[in-house]
């Protein structure tokens, strides 16, 4: 009897020791035991991320906070209420904004790879070790990205960072208009082909510079031979009609700023690597992080590069190092699968929305969509149907950014 009792103790003891070992193993090998100062921030982020908002909204670390210290849910369009559970009937579609929320689910699925923990002492100084305002590691990642995707030549080209492509638009206009090669005293003419992104006009006019002036549609400059310096904005793929535009004006006095923010495989087929003199890209359109305000310019000419660098220095001492850290992490996630995961996800999401929208608009007598045929994409190595980021109807007065917009459903349009 005693022997039986003793051996059953032995079994229980062996089990208990096994559990001990398992727990210690978990504790140590798992690596969690090592976390000290970073734990609080990690827990805080997970707590905020766990607020469900009924699946129709998001709570943010820097969002407004309730009395109970819980961040408030920020609801998607057409939803409201403290937990975003109330559907707003008769909710109108916002046709004037291009928030890139369509990639939010992708980043939620890649939570572990894309999170960044910023230490309290991260990059307190003004410059990186080479004295610049640009992270060399991030610049290297951007070059690798373009070479992987095959959408732009960067070898032997200069790179400048800006607060989104927005800040770089004016930096480019400044650089091209103040170039010393022409001694013309009259301001350079800045033009764009209709329909164009309205910021080209508003921003160029806003700065009221002695060096440049917005002059409207490109076509009015086609037959002027001695027009002085002309800077042409070229959006390729174009917003809102999706076309791979090329510069219309040529000659010694003409230069072009290629806005290439949509030249990624989720928005368009990539026929070849772009090799324009001055090209702009942005994180907003690549990964969907409009809020980070991060963009970059790829530049052939050294003096234009230096003028744009000087612009960034004088206007804001470069781009926030926090935004650069974030961009590095996000581009790293894109590169982990050579872009495959994000571009496949983005392409299918946009393509589905395009098809839904085509279907809805086909019921309308007032609007119809332009026809976009399938094209061969060198990145996907196959023929792909259209998945444009922005959409214009052929009435030409109504441009829809709705495809990119933060929507839980597509609200009725007609």
């Amino acid at each position: 009897m005693a022997k039986a009792q003793s051996s059953s103790y032995f079994v229980i003891l062996a089990l208990s020791i096994a559990v001990n070992l398992l727990l210690v193993f978990q504790f140590c090998v798992d690596g969690e035991w090592r976390l000290t100062w970073s734990k609080r921030a990690a827990e805080e982020a997970e707590r905020v991320a766990a607020i469900p908002c009924s699946g129709h909204g998001t709570a943010y670390l820097d969002g407004l906070v309730l009395d109970g210290k819980e961040p408030v849910c920020e609801c998607n369009s057409c939803y409201e209420g403290p937990d975003c559970s109330e559907f707003v009937t008769e909710c109108a579609a916002n046709a004037d904004s291009g928030d890139p929320y369509f990639l939010q689910p992708f980043w939620m699925q890649h939570a572990a790879q894309s999170a960044v923990l910023v230490a309290g002492w991260h990059r307190m100084g003004y410059s990186y070790p080479d004295g610049s305002y640009i992270s060399a590691e991030l610049e290297g990642h951007i070059r690798e990205l373009h070479s992987t995707v095959g959408n732009a030549v960067t070898q032997g080209r200069y790179i400048v960072f800006g607060a989104g492509s927005t800040q770089l638009l004016n930096a480019a206009v400044h650089a091209l208009s103040s170039d010393n090669s022409s001694n013309s005293s009259s301001p350079a003419s800045v033009v764009a082909t209709i329909p164009y992104y309205r910021l080209y006009k508003t921003q160029t006019e806003f700065f009221r510079s002695l060096d440049y002036r917005f002059e409207g549609d490109t076509s009015s400059f086609l037959n002027i031979s001695e027009a002085g310096k002309v800077i042409e904005f070229v959006t390729s793929p174009n917003n809102p009609d999706g076309k791979l535009n090329k510069a219309v004006l040529h000659g010694p006095n003409a230069s072009a700023i290629y806005d290439r923010v949509y030249y990624w495989p989720h928005f368009t087929a990539i026929p070849n690597p772009a090799d324009d003199d001055l090209m702009l890209f942005s994180l907003s359109k690549l990964t969907g992080h409009a809020g980070s305000r991060f963009g970059w310019a790829v530049i052939k000419n050294e003096s234009v590069y230096q003028k744009m660098t000087e612009y960034m220095s004088s206007s804001s001492m470069g781009v926030s190092r926090d935004a650069q850290l974030r961009a590095l992490k996000l581009i790293n996630v894109v590169l982990e699968t050579r872009g495959k995961q994000i571009f496949e996800f983005g392409y299918h999401t946009m393509r589905n929305r395009w098809e839904s929208l085509s279907k809805i608009l086909s019921l309308s007598n007032r609007f119809s969509l332009q026809k976009l045929g399938p094209r061969y994409c060198t990145y996907f190595k196959k023929i792909r149907g259209p998945s444009p980021g922005n959409v214009s109807t052929n009435s030409r007065i109504f441009s829809l950014s709705i495809i990119e917009y933060k929507m839980s459903i597509i609200p009725p349009l007609s």
Copy 2:
């Protein structure tokens, strides 16, 4: 015998179960078991932070990476080598830069409170829920901070964010020069009292606006009654001489931009809350985070506020939301002790450096420091000796930012 064996088994079993319970308790109550997707980022940050760099440098998450994937040490001035262990003899002091590394040890001491974990889907959209580019929570924190420190009136005032005070300098010049109240067609004159921060001149000239022109020293405008619109930069406390300057020009055509970046208790005694029409502050000088590029303007006049908001929108669509999240976290740490910890730390560090520098320069025949007497500080509620952020020698040709600089030692100067 069997009984003795059995009871010893029992004791061991009881111990083993106790250890199990302890481990499970640790696992659950400690909260670590909950971490899932945030763990990788937290571990990565702790691994980078653990790279010692011999105590004379820092490794950063976005720094250059060695082949073994380990970030490279970035060395403090006068140190070099892969682990920053080699002291550079004959190392000259950099007298032309004001990197705020003197607060780096403070943030290392407050690692847990100041860390931020940014989720992959943080703030992907362009705007906050109110449609602005400004975090309402951060704006609230900034108002609370000024009210706690007593260095600026913010009640009934508007707040605009910028990429450091740098971007706001030009936003303010733009807003004050394009004000419709005066219909003068000639550009506004922008002036500053010598010695002034050189960016006032370089930036104002850089933008080559039709609306304003840099005209040099304020004194040349003192006797001109009908000079047209004049915008005066006033740095208070002044950089480099530490004086609490006031605007010199008055009248219906004169307006002032008060650069108040050094108006914090670690740099100067606070005699009263500043209540100027347009005041600029920055995170760089408050918490030492120059790299985040975050600043704010406190503005009395609604139309000036609207013009500055429009400037931020047109030039960069606001400030990076990543930088805003970071600023929120850092200001939160400052507020946790009503500023006591950081201002005491900053004051003592700056004061010790000032005393060391005074001692070294007293040995020189060529340089001497201006005399700064002790003053009553309403924040510390006592009389405090000088601790200026920047230093100028009375030769007036040599301005030293050395006190703020990233140094492990003060290198020989004379």
